[in-house]
Structure formats: structure tokens, C-alpha cells
């Protein structure tokens, strides 16, 4: 999966036609084989652009209002990134005419250990759902697989699970990197940072970690696209995907197999309802 050449061509064409102010792609790190996001305003830097299975970061994050300030942006998206972008378009965070999207039919990216990442193994939509130009051959939608870690944890006893999560929340340092790296967390001021609210929990204790992560994951339920930017950003390496995948699984199984960002104008599972939604847990 090496699309570096094509991306470079498209980027230089876009700059030549004056269609974009910014181009967001990936650049090779000089010291190892990892890649970092790369924002270009100057066409002279185009040769540095690359795209391989090491292009991990979700670039839709750079469309958050405070990054690009409503400029015209060209960017590269994989399947999951395009789902996030689709949601941002639906939620009016990005104007469609302001973005030029190069969609890539993703074959899966590698994790730090050089294996295929877990979310790519379980990926439901490797092809871009929104794009102006598409690279690679589309392989179509895949079947939904329940996350392996969730299955394993669900079989454990309640107290065992609680101990496991207590350990996670205790190790959270509340840097909020998960939030800032998430393309769908674009609120100008996050609700958990509202100091004047009586619900505010500003300390950095284990209970505050639980409070922040749980609130965050529930506010993203039905919208999370499983790009795992949060997990890559977390300095404590917490398995944050557990919370999101659990929500995703419940939503998929109970609400007409809903998956976030798959269709145009679909705002997420919590923005619609069905009369036949499960009711048996309510007294």
C-alpha cells in the first residue's frame, strides 16, 4: 500500500490550480520508519509526502476549527478517517467545499510492533465513504466483528473487571490527549472542563480519571469510528478502545446495526430512535 507518488501528484496539481491553502499528509520520520502528520502550505515541500502502511494518524483531526481556521484543505484519508470526516461534515464542523478529500482504500496499518493493528483486523469499512478522488481498489464493506478484548473481558467476573478498570483509571494522568487527538471532540470548551459547573471534577485522582474517561466515552458513543487516535496519543498507553468498542457493540447489536459515519447525513445512533428499540431493561 504505497500511494506516495499519486498523492504527491495530486497535491501539486491542487496547489497549481489554487484549489487549496493547506495540504495535510504524512512525512517520514528521519530516525525510524514511523510517520508523522505533515501540513504543507508551500508546494516546494510536496516531495516529502508519503503514504504507506505506516501512515497511522487520523488526519481528520486537523480539520477541527482551531487548526485550520476555515481554510481550504486537501487531505488524505483512510477508511476510518473518512468516516470521522463524514460525521464532521454532517455535524457542520467542516464545509464540504472547503475540503478536497483523497480517499485511500486501506489495506490496514501497522502498530508499534510492526503487526497489523487490531482495529484494522476488525475494520468494517476499509474504503473511504466520502472522497473527491480515490486511490487503490475498493474491497467493500466487511462483516462486523466483536472486539477480541471485549469478548475476553466480558467473560470475567464483575469484581475482576472492576479491578482491571480501576487500574486503568488510576493510571490516567488527565492530560486530555485522548480528547485533543479525537477528530470528533471539537467542542470549544469541553464539558468536563467547565470549572463553574457543580459536576466539575478537576483533580487528578483515580475517581476523576474515571469521571473524565467515562463521560468522554459516553459522549462519543454512537459516533466513535474506531480510528484509535486516542490510544496512540495516550502517554500512559491505556487501552481506551475498550470503552468505545463496548459502546459500539451494544449499539450495533441493539440499534439496527448502526455504525458511525457510514452514510451521508447520519448523525450517530443517539440522534435517532426506533419504536422497536429494546425496552426490557426498563421497569
Amino acid at each position: 500500500m504505497d500511494h506516495s507518488k499519486q498523492i504527491q501528484e495530486i497535491a501539486s496539481r491542487l496547489f497549481a490550480e489554487n484549489k487549496i491553502d493547506y495540504f495535510v499528509g504524512y512525512r517520514q520520520n528521519s530516525f525510524d520508519d514511523t510517520q508523522v502528520p505533515f501540513l504543507i502550505t508551500d508546494p516546494a515541500e510536496i516531495p516529502k509526502l508519503v503514504f504507506t502502511e505506516r501512515s497511522v494518524f487520523n488526519l481528520s483531526n486537523y480539520l477541527k476549527p482551531d487548526h485550520t481556521k476555515r481554510k481550504r484543505v486537501g487531505l488524505v484519508v483512510k477508511g476510518c478517517d473518512s468516516r470521522a470526516l463524514n460525521l464532521m461534515l454532517t455535524e457542520s464542523q467542516v464545509k464540504r467545499e472547503n475540503v478536497y478529500i483523497i480517499g485511500i482504500c486501506c489495506e490496514g496499518v501497522l502498530n508499534e510492533k510492526g503487526e497489523k493493528a487490531q482495529n484494522c483486523v476488525e475494520c468494517v469499512m476499509p474504503d473511504p465513504v466520502v472522497y473527491d478522488e480515490i486511490l487503490g481498489t475498493a474491497s467493500g464493506k466487511r462483516e462486523y466483528i466483536v472486539n477480541a478484548d471485549i469478548k475476553e473481558l466480558a467473560q470475567k467476573a464483575l469484581t475482576e473487571r472492576a479491578d482491571y478498570f480501576e487500574n486503568i483509571f488510576e493510571n490516567c494522568i488527565r492530560c486530555n490527549a485522548c480528547r485533543h487527538s479525537c477528530p470528533l471532540c471539537y467542542c470549544a470548551k469541553c464539558c468536563i472542563d467547565q470549572e463553574t459547573s457543580t459536576l466539575y471534577h478537576g483533580a487528578n485522582t483515580s475517581s476523576a480519571g474515571m469521571h473524565a474517561l467515562m463521560t468522554w466515552s459516553l459522549h462519543l458513543a454512537g459516533r466513535c469510528v474506531d480510528c484509535r487516535n486516542c490510544e496512540k496519543a495516550c502517554p500512559s498507553h491505556l487501552p481506551l478502545h475498550l470503552l468505545h468498542k463496548q459502546n459500539e457493540m451494544v449499539i450495533y447489536e441493539n440499534f439496527q446495526q448502526h455504525l458511525a459515519g457510514m452514510e451521508k447525513d447520519d448523525r450517530g445512533a443517539f440522534y435517532k430512535y426506533s419504536l422497536s428499540d429494546p425496552d426490557d431493561f426498563i421497569l
Binding site: V36, C175, Y200, H201, T205, H237
Partner: protein, 345 residues
């Protein structure tokens, strides 16, 4: 002359075990593929030789991620303020496996903590702690500690230094007076006292360590240039792919900004002091809505200049210690080394 012991792997293990049995000991413990300094009661639990790229800094043991400042209680007669409980971290303790850059970070932090207001909790923690540092054998990809304004080889930031010599022997060397006394009291297992030859071996080890650095810079030049570059337009491109996630500040061994928050249940509450970061968009937001650093490049300028210029001007030491933690943890791999070097180019 400093006290030096010569020993081997088994001897070092015995030495560690003796310490763990005797003192309240903290050491790197693996959690989610990352090493963090935790209380240990057995040597098997921890790894004093943890690799630097995946080890968190030792800062939280001195400047905890959250600390109680005071308690308060409201009743009909008004509000009463009281002291918090005994500080759990202020007791006598030993920390194993501290990296020398982390230890230097504490020395740098001392400057700000003893200036003007003296933080008694911090002071107590510093005084009651013995730091045992294992010297790295090889530099990490993001390390640049040797390029800064301090002498890594003869650093006295830690009390006892452990060196895995190139000749297969392990050297335990005291660096400070505190460390010397500590070694004298806790060396029942050690017998071979090192000689001039050990000093040579330690020097040789440092030479090989020094030659393994990927990143090198001329600190003096960078510092001098940066002083005049406040208005440099370069800060914008170098910070363009920063996502303002705060990770760098939270895991930095020398960042010391904090925020204050009050938390209340019914009539009783606690005032907390917890980490904060200048990379946060509303870190400088004032009441009334004015924000002097709304743009990302201004926040990065503050971060880079504070690390390499302001702190040096004020306290005579560089705030950055070259551990490279920020670059490793950064989701988009921005290294403060690259930032200052590109700006000062």
C-alpha cells in the same frame, strides 16, 4: 574520594533486595507497557534497568499529579480552613532505577521551588529521598542530554550511581555525601571496594555512552540565538502539526505548571493542586475573555523559550534536561530539540 563498590549482577540484585527489605522503596513497575515509579515490596515486581523511552519521569513522586492543598468546612458560623492529612510521600524512601536526566530534572525543579515561596512538602520529599540512578548504556533515539548545559558524567543530581561497566563488572558509586552514608550503611553484601581502575572503567563506559547519541547540538549557540528570536516566524511552521494535546507537559520531568480546583461534597471540600499545561488553548484565558496566547505557535513559543531561555536567564539552569520524553510520547513526534534547532537555524 567517592565510595565505589565492584560487584556483579547477582551482587547488585542482593544490594537491591537489601534496600527493598529495609526501606520504603519505589522503582519502575510495568503498567500497560509503560514503566511508572511505584511502591515495591519485592525485586521481581520492578525493573530498575527499564529502558528510558518507555519509562515515565520520576517527577510525580515529588510533585504529585494531584495533591491536596487544604480542606475547608462550611457551617453556620462561616468557613473553617484546615491542614490536609500527613503527606504520604514525605517519609524516608529510596528510589531505584532513576534515569540521570530525571534526577537532573529534580535539581532544576529545586530552583523554582526554593525561590520566593518555599514549598515545604516538596522540600521534605526531596530531603527524605535517596536516589539511585542506573546510567544508561545507550542513548535513546530522542535523547540529547549530553548537548545541554550540565555535566552528565559528573552529575550530582542522584546520590548513588550504578554503572554496568564494559568489562562485565557492575560499579556502585556514591556521588553525594548522602549517598556515601547510605552506601556505608547498606553494603553488608558488598566487599570489593573499587580502585583507580574502577574510575577508569566508569569513564570508559561514559565515553561509549556519549558516542551513541543521535541528536547533538551546540547549546550555547542555540541559547544565544533564541534570546533574540521572540518574533521569529519559524515558530508557526514548526508547530503546525501540534494537536495541543498537553502530553508533553504532563510527562515532562521539569514542567511545573499547575491548576487549582475546589471540590465539595455537601459542606466539606478539598482544594486540589493538579498538573496543567501551557499547550492547552485556554491555559492563559483570563476572566473577561482575553487570551494572550490563543494561537498554537504562541503557545509553542512560550514552551520552547521557557525551556531554553527564560528559565536560564532567571535561575541559571536550562529547564529542558534532554530526556526526549516529550518527543516519544507526542502523538505526532514533535521534538523540542527539532523545534529549537529549526528556529535558531
Amino acid at each position: 574520594m567517592n565510595l565505589i563498590f565492584e560487584t556483579d549482577k547477582a551482587g547488585l540484585q542482593k544490594f537491591y533486595e537489601e534496600i527493598i527489605a529495609k526501606f520504603e522503596t519505589y522503582a519502575p513497575v510495568e503498567k500497560f507497557e509503560k514503566f511508572d515509579y511505584k511502591r515495591v515490596s519485592k525485586l521481581e515486581e520492578c525493573n530498575p534497568d527499564s529502558p528510558i523511552p518507555s519509562t515515565m519521569s520520576v517527577k510525580p513522586l515529588f510533585f504529585p499529579k494531584t495533591a491536596k492543598v487544604m480542606k475547608f468546612q462550611e457551617d453556620s458560623s462561616g468557613t473553617t480552613v484546615s491542614e490536609t492529612d500527613e503527606d504520604p510521600l514525605a517519609g524516608k524512601r529510596v528510589i531505584l532505577g532513576v534515569k540521570h536526566c530525571d534526577a537532573r530534572g529534580l535539581q532544576v525543579l529545586d530552583e523554582v521551588y526554593k525561590w520566593d515561596y518555599i514549598d515545604t512538602d516538596y522540600k521534605k520529599r526531596r530531603e527524605n529521598t535517596i536516589i539511585l540512578s542506573t546510567r544508561c548504556d545507550k542513548a535513546g533515539t530522542q535523547c540529547f542530554c549530553t548537548s545541554l548545559d550540565y555535566d552528565v558524567e559528573n552529575s550530582d543530581a542522584h546520590d548513588v550511581r550504578i554503572v554496568n561497566g564494559l568489562d562485565g563488572k557492575i560499579y556502585i558509586q556514591s556521588v553525594t555525601e548522602k549517598g556515601e552514608n547510605f552506601l556505608k550503611e547498606n553494603s553488608s553484601q558488598q566487599s570489593v571496594v573499587g580502585s583507580q581502575q574502577s574510575v577508569e572503567e566508569i569513564k570508559k563506559h561514559y565515553k561509549s555512552f556519549e558516542s551513541s547519541f543521535r541528536l547533538k547540538m551546540n547549546y550555547k549557540e542555540v541559547n544565544e540565538k533564541l534570546q533574540k528570536l521572540f518574533d521569529s516566524p519559524e515558530f508557526d511552521p514548526v508547530s503546525s502539526n501540534c494537536i495541543s494535546c498537553n502530553t508533553c507537559a504532563f510527562i515532562c520531568p521539569t514542567c511545573h505548571c499547575f491548576k487549582i480546583s475546589d471540590e465539595k461534597i455537601k459542606d466539606t471540600g478539598v482544594r486540589y493542586k493538579s498538573y496543567d499545561s501551557c499547550n492547552n488553548g485556554y491555559f492563559t484565558l483570563m476572566a473577561g475573555g482575553h487570551n494572550p496566547r490563543p494561537a498554537k505557535y504562541r503557545r509553542w513559543r512560550q514552551r520552547a523559550m521557557h525551556k531554553f531561555v527564560y528559565y536560564k536567564e532567571r535561575f541559571g539552569v536550562n529547564l529542558c534536561v534532554g530526556c526526549g520524553h516529550c518527543a516519544i510520547s507526542c502523538p505526532v513526534n514533535i521534538s523540542i530539540f527539532d523545534v529549537v534547532n529549526q528556529v535558531a537555524k
